[in-house]
């Protein structure tokens, strides 16, 4: 594929998957509430139009540069995450030798961007959301780094394409069974959904997004979906063999696997209750992080 085709495919993939998640969200909640869904396919578009129609308001003395930049940066980070992943053996937008390290940087910068979004609006509930997010986001990021290092071990490389190629015989999800579940938690945390929604939850009136309206809000909401897509794409590639698969062409396999991971993520976000931030911190530091150590040791022993 030429770079132009790849770029178009990349944009279409991000937009399409964001729409897919929004549709899934609608269907899942309708099913759980026991009512018919309301225009399930078009509803996300209607909502987009509503946000575009609204004025983008200002607060008193916000840090306007950071406030407007944060949604765009968040979406951009998600975009670079997806760009790391090859659609097929020969077509990858960003063929980075240290792809996994860049993904780590994406996670770290996401925490910064979300904090900035909450901080720069100059509003107390947004700031509480921002602080909470940092407290939870940083340790979850550590977990995902251990998980990804474990996945890089059998491939003997930090590049995403090589990690995919190393799964020709056996997918990492079977070789390293703890990896995918731990990585899915990262997905919920990076896009703050369901049990990990400490940044934008309703108990702090929308948190970091409490003061934003209009087009910037649309970008912010899209960026959350795009980040979830990025996590699912990386998960599909690192644990489920990415484009590898019989009969169908590679890109189709990647899309199918990503869609399946997204279904799991949406399900998890709707099915699990949120515990208080301090208890979540305890859970992460005392249970999940040690679990990721065990996982890394296990992967290391296997790789020997």
């Amino acid at each position: 594929m030429t770079p132009i085709v790849l770029t178009v495919a990349w944009v279409a993939f991000l937009l399409g998957m964001a729409w897919y998640i929004a549709v899934l969200d609608g269907l899942w909640s309708a099913a759980r509430e026991g009512r018919p869904p309301r225009a399930p396919l078009a509803n996300p578009l209607y909502r987009c139009a509503t946000m575009l129609r609204q004025q983008s308001n200002l607060t008193e003395a916000p840090d306007l540069l950071n406030w407007r930049l944060a949604p765009a940066l968040y979406a951009g980070l998600a975009g670079t995450g997806v760009a790391l992943v090859p659609f097929s053996g020969a077509s990858v937008l960003a063929d980075l030798e240290v792809g996994i390290v860049w993904w780590g940087a994406v996670e770290a910068l996401t925490v910064v961007v979300v904090f900035l979004h909450g901080w720069s609006a100059n509003s107390q509930l947004g700031l509480i959301g921002a602080y909470r997010y940092v407290a939870i986001g940083l340790p979850v990021m550590l977990i995902s780094m251990f998980v990804l290092i474990a996945a890089a071990l059998p491939a003997e490389s930090l590049a995403v394409p090589k990690i995919i190629e190393s799964q020709r015989e056996l997918w990492n999800v079977i070789r390293q069974p703890l990896g995918l579940p731990l990585f899915l938690l990262l997905g919920l945390s990076l896009s703050f959904r369901g049990p990990f929604n400490y940044a934008d939850s309703a108990d702090i009136a929308g948190g970091t997004a409490a003061e934003v309206s209009g087009a910037p809000r649309l970008v912010w909401e899209f960026a959350r979906l795009a980040m979830l897509t990025a996590v699912a794409t990386v998960a599909a590639s690192v644990f489920l063999g990415g484009y590898l698969g019989p009969w169908l062409p590679g890109p189709v396999w990647l899309v199918l696997k990503t869609a399946a991971v997204l279904l799991a993520l949406v399900g998890l976000s709707h099915q699990l209750a949120r515990i208080s931030p301090s208890r979540m911190m305890t859970l992460i530091w005392t249970v999940l992080l040690p679990l990721s150590f065990v996982h890394l040791v296990w992967a290391g022993v296997l790789a020997l």
Partner: protein, 416 residues
């Protein structure tokens, strides 16, 4: 094109819950055509449900001015005079969804003009700042923007003694998941509450929940009606907690159940309870969170008292209930978990009573326990003693683990 698409979206609505809001408010909020937002910044229509105290008007105006254009206000069940446009009000017994949709469509297309600011859009005090971002000046403490207070001197943190700056702000009365009408002045360190003071007490329980109990004072009333009102009240309380722990879909299910109970339909609570338990609702409420001491539980009465293990219920002495072998359910722990379990148990028990004696009548003036403690004495305990030391999210759970009658009693206006 954009307008046509936007007009078909669910109406983004911010609800300001007033006193005596319409019985159908829960039903409205779970309609798929309505999108209840957590902040006024995301809404296009400000729905004022019920009456608003005069002292809340200023808060309401501030919320109104936070709605992005195009925006409009809709009064529901408030006896606003004829000066309010027909398109922007509904009587409390009306279903306003159709009017709301029409108003929203006209707002989007421009047929209905967007409302202007109600308050002057200017700082509350004269500008006294400097600097790029307009917040202040120079020196060790920075500036004093708009003559506002600078941070308080640090106080030792409740948890680990690290003395840091605190931040004081007013919260309420129209915050989502917040007891309607309550205004607290809260001092935070991070998101931990250091102290709280009542500025305005919450609204008393709604009329809709009291109807069968008030009727009982002067006429014979069906047991089924009384118990249905109880189950509906408890389900609404449960729904609030479900929302707070991040299960909005289950919360809407509880609201739908409450509306159906009120509409005399036969429902089962067990599936909801099971789904909530499977989603980790109990795990989300830390054991011991919001535990109250025995004395307070006794003074509060009602479900809070029974959640503390005291089997005290007016229904125990009623001959009709005695005939149905009624014994009060109780819990032991007296914390948020126990009160939630108590609501579930009592709602299930109420529906069991309905199906056991669908035609039973209770004689006029008989003593029957209300969903909350109707005749409990004033409490010598303040909500403001319960909150310090809690994180914001925990504080909200604790607040919502009490019914509005208990909150009213715990949060009277402190004498100046």
């Amino acid at each position: 094109m954009l307008e046509r698409l936007a007009a078909r979206a669910p109406v983004p609505l911010f609800v300001a819950m007033g006193r005596d809001r319409a019985p159908a408010v829960e039903r409205l909020l779970q309609s798929a055509d309505i999108d209840v937002t957590a902040t006024p910044r995301h809404a296009s229509i400000l729905l004022v449900a019920g009456r608003v105290r005069d002292s809340d008007q200023a808060y309401l105006d501030r919320i109104h001015d936070q709605l992005p254009h195009p925006r409009a206000t809709f009064w529901w069940g408030d006896e606003q005079g004829d000066d309010v446009d027909e398109a922007q009000r509904a009587a409390s017994f009306d279903d306003p969804v159709i009017s709301l949709r029409a108003l929203y469509r006209n707002l989007i297309s421009g047929a209905h003009a967007s409302e202007t600011h109600r308050l002057p859009d200017e700082p509350p005090a004269p500008w006294r700042g400097k600097g790029d971002h307009g917040q202040g000046g120079e020196g060790m403490m920075g500036g004093v923007p708009y003559g506002r207070m600078m941070p308080m001197p640090p106080t030792p943190d409740i948890r680990d003694g690290l003395a840091l700056d605190v931040y004081t702000t007013q919260i309420g009365p129209f915050m989502p998941y917040w007891p309607a009408g309550l205004v607290l002045e809260v001092t935070f360190q991070g998101d931990v509450i250091q102290s709280a003071e009542v500025v305005q007490p919450p609204y008393p329980p709604r009329d809709v929940d009291r109807v069968p109990f008030d009727r009982l004072l002067h006429e014979t009333t069906a047991l089924a009606q009384i118990e249905r009102a109880r189950a509906a009240h408890h389900l609404v309380c449960i729904a609030r907690l479900l929302s707070l722990v991040g299960l909005p879909t289950l919360s809407r299910r509880a609201q739908i159940l409450a509306a159906r109970v009120r509409a005399n339909e036969t429902i089962a609570i067990a599936p909801l309870r099971k789904a909530a338990a499977r989603s980790g609702l109990t795990a989300a409420l830390a054991p011991g969170l919001g535990r109250i001491d025995d004395r307070l539980a006794r003074e509060l009465g009602g479900p809070a008292q029974r959640a503390a293990g005291h089997a005290i219920d007016d229904r125990s002495d009623n001959p009709m209930y005695k005939r149905l072998d009624f014994t009060p359910v109780t819990q032991t722990q007296s914390d948020c978990r126990a009160r939630l379990a108590q609501w579930f148990d009592e709602a299930e028990q109420a529906l069991a009573l309905v199906s056991a004696a669908p035609d039973a009548m209770i004689g006029q003036g008989a003593l029957v326990e209300a969903p909350w403690a109707l005749r409990a004495p004033p409490v010598d305990y303040r909500l403001t003693e319960l909150l310090p030391g809690l994180e914001w999210s925990e504080a909200l759970l604790v607040l919502n683990s009490f019914d509005s009658a208990a909150l009213c009693r715990m949060a009277p206006l402190e004498a100046p």
